[in-house]
């Protein structure tokens, strides 16, 4: 059923008895045109765009848990396209444009909110590096403004401008950046894909990839074997495990990233702010919780939980940036497993195994990429060609040297 | 201008020790009987010794013949009348002399058996004691300093408040345990800021060891 203020009011009069399930709960069919492994944000978005843009709806999304149970439901909800390198910027800008029209496209309010993303800088060298990035964004048609302290101070009067170890000198602002309600993104894509006939199959874990003549022809699952013409992996932190089922090793390590939310507070901060002298970023959700995070814990982990050193590091950065947070209480923290690629940028590509497609390496930036990732992955699956904004996301770029290393950190995932 | 126009004797080459302008003698924090005592150290000679591959026993023998102390194979400190050998990594030690007298010659002699790198000015050292010293240290030391877990002579390389430190436990004094901490010279200001904040609630008596005429 279509969602609108009218349907809401009409249901209100009926005591909300007439709402129907947001998606069906089908049993897997024996065969599909496309199987998408992973019912997270990227997998669901891929399904939606396959069905809505390419007319391919004989598709199953296989999810080992519940829909949206991966990183799409455990991130800090930031959306932005403030990238430096030409391999990245147009892709993330496509994503931003898709965010901007998402609610109408999906008939679902994912609460996309463009309240701005401000990256603070604390030295002349950092200012120049941010200017380089801001200028690259402008060249790619993305909005970017370089602010000085005199502009940042009135926006964020509570920050430590006067007694900081690393004084704030200004910031790079993308006004179109912001946040979205993460679960709603997954649910919106799932509902839209379902409405076009895509089967969303929960509690269905892929345990093997069936090969014939060097080609992937199906999957073994906890709910039985399923055949498919094309098999697409969108399993984030589990990419290496699934790829191993087809005999592949990937340029990926799986790491844990923690995130934090405070108790609900009346509005304190409008957009997203990142601290440039440590690992810290913060925003405030529509419900009032401050949502914040920092660096990855820094070691391979599939455990979905982190440890105190990074928690304390995040809190130290919080206090260094904003000493008024001392009495604000952290309500909850959790960890997600990140598919950290060796250059910090993603992979959307075919693989050496025919019929098998890979979408991985999102590091801790996967949420903002969700729409474009699905859009470009669907394009690749449907046409066999990379989408023009995703041509740099090749799997062979590590061998050729065409790495996309935004930070210049080298082949060490925990430094990206 | 002639090379001899100015001579270095025109300026007195006064030493400016690691603790200069960082900490002063006196009581900090709470008034009353001090729970913590800090004595700022200076004037010692210090060098890193790294044995040649397989050469640790020979080096230890050489050190012993010159100073009377052997080099510890585990994270401990071996103290003699005028020298300490402080474990600082596998086959690596800090050799400390109470004074600079003869230290350069000693290092020269040891360099046949070891890579020797002088570090006399690279570290600030402070000797800590008092009934509440463990409570104060617990605010930054990520190690178990309980008497049973960290015995007299034990040493550790670790960090406090994001600052690398080298610490060890000396022989007990009548009023309790004694620790010594060495910290990189450039970070002694931040170290002291942490220490002063951590010891303040107990009251801390600070003095400067001028026995060697430096500090």
């Amino acid at each position: 059923m279509r969602y609108s203020i009218f349907s809401l009011l009409s249901q209100t009069l009926q005591g909300h008895k007439g709402w129907t399930p947001a998606w069906r709960d089908p049993a897997p069919k024996p065969e599909y045109d496309v199987i998408i492994i992973g019912g997270g944000g990227h997998g669901l978005a891929t399904a939606h765009y396959l069905a809505s843009r390419h007319g391919i709806s004989n598709v199953a999304v296989l999810e080992k848990g519940y829909l949206g149970s991966g990183n799409v439901g455990r991130n800090t909800t930031i959306i932005r396209s403030n990238y430096l390198l030409p391999g990245n910027t147009p892709f993330y800008e496509l994503s931003m444009k898709l965010w901007e029209g998402l609610e109408q496209d999906l008939n679902y309010n994912a609460m996309v909110s463009q309240r701005g993303v401000l990256n603070l800088y604390h030295s002349d060298a950092q200012r120049d590096a941010f200017a380089r990035r801001g200028n690259a964004m402008r060249l790619a048609g993305v909005d970017a403004e370089l602010l000085g302290t005199e502009q940042v101070r009135p926006m964020l009067p509570y920050l430590d401008f006067d007694n900081a170890r690393f004084p704030i000198q200004g910031g790079l602002l993308q006004r179109r950046g912001g946040s979205a309600r993460h679960d709603a993104v997954a649910w919106g894509f799932a509902r839209a894909a379902d409405s076009r006939g895509v089967d969303m199959i929960q509690n269905c874990e892929v345990t093997g990839i069936t090969m014939a003549g060097g080609r992937a022809i199906g999957v073994e699952t906890s709910r039985g074997p399923i055949r498919a013409k094309k098999i697409a992996m969108a399993v984030a932190g589990n990419s290496s495990r699934v790829a191993a089922m087809a005999g592949m090793r990937l340029p990926i390590e799986t790491h844990v990233l923690q995130a934090f939310v405070s108790e609900g507070l009346k509005p304190l901060i409008e957009g997203v702010v990142t601290f440039g002298a440590g690992h810290f970023y913060i925003s405030q959700s529509d419900k009032g919780g401050l949502v914040f995070g920092g660096d990855i814990d820094g070691y391979n982990s599939y455990a979905q939980r982190g440890n105190l050193p990074v928690i304390e590091d995040v809190m130290e950065s919080a206090m260094a940036l904003w000493p008024g947070l001392g009495r604000v209480r952290m309500l909850r923290h959790w960890g997600g497993v990140m598919d950290m690629s060796m250059d910090g940028s993603p992979i959307i590509d075919t693989t050496p195994v025919e019929g098998l497609y890979l979408n991985a390496g999102w590091c801790y930036g996967g949420f903002k990429a969700t729409p474009a990732s699905g859009f470009c992955f669907a394009h690749l699956i449907a046409t066999g060609q990379p989408h023009p904004v995703a041509t740099a996301y090749r799997l062979d770029r590590f061998a050729t040297g065409r790495v996309i290393d935004e930070k210049g950190a080298g082949a060490q995932p925990n430094l990206h | 201008m002639a090379e001899t126009a100015t001579t270095s004797t025109a300026v007195s080459w006064t030493q400016h020790g690691a603790w200069a302008d960082i900490a002063q003698a006196g009581q900090l924090g709470a008034a009353g009987p001090a729970g913590v005592t800090a004595i700022l150290q200076g004037g010692f000679g210090l060098a890193t010794l790294i044995a040649t591959p397989g050469g640790a026993p020979a080096l230890s023998g050489l050190v012993e013949s010159r100073t009377g102390i052997t080099l510890p194979a585990t994270p401990t400190i071996v103290s003699g009348a005028s020298h300490d050998a402080i474990w600082s990594g596998p086959e690596q030690w800090l050799l400390r002399a109470a004074t600079h007298d003869g230290f350069a010659e000693l290092l020269e002699a040891l360099s046949v058996q070891a890579a020797v790198s002088e570090q006399s000015d690279a570290r600030a050292a402070v000797r800590l004691s008092g009934p509440q010293i463990r409570d104060a240290l617990a605010k930054g030391v990520m190690l178990d300093l309980h008497p049973a877990a960290f015995a007299v002579g034990d040493t550790a390389l670790t960090s406090i408040a994001h600052i690398g430190v080298h610490l060890w436990r000396l022989t007990d004094e009548p009023d309790g345990s004694v620790f010594e901490i060495m910290v990189a010279r450039s970070m002694v200001g931040s170290f002291w800021s942490w220490f002063a904040a951590s010891a303040a609630e107990f009251g801390c008596q600070v003095s400067i060891d001028r026995s060697t005429g430096r500090g």
Binding site: N238, S240, R241, A244, R249, L250, P251, I252, E253, T254, G298, Y299, N300, S301, Y302, A303, N307, P309, M342, F398, A399, A411, Q412, P413, N414 | P75, S88, G89, P90, Q92, M142, L143, A156, L157, T158, S159, G164
Partner: protein, 91 residues
């Protein structure tokens, strides 16, 4: 986490920095191929299970260690100095 440094004893993981998988071997010498080196530099097993990995005791004794750790539970089953391992392997 706590890592028991074979030299220093049990320490908070905060004292160490992490590099990654310990098992890939650097292709040495002028005869090594670019492809082999690219595999060494970039490709990872990334197992969900026991992982042999390199940690550096930077705040301690400066030893590089090979730690066997389960990436699902973080349980550590072995820690050995990287130097000894290599010496053992070539002996």
């Amino acid at each position: 986490m706590r890592i028991t440094c074979p030299h220093c004893g049990a320490r908070d993981a905060q004292e160490f920095s992490y590099l990654g998988a310990a098992d890939p071997k650097r292709p040495e010498g002028m005869a090594a191929s670019e492809a082999a080196m690219a595999t060494y530099v970039y490709q990872r097993d990334n197992p969900a299970g026991v992982h042999r990995e390199l940690w550096y005791h930077g705040a301690g004794c400066h030893a590089w260690l090979v730690v066997s750790r389960d990436t699902r539970t973080h349980a550590i089953t072995a820690v050995e100095p990287a130097k000894a391992r290599k010496a053992g392997a070539t002996a």
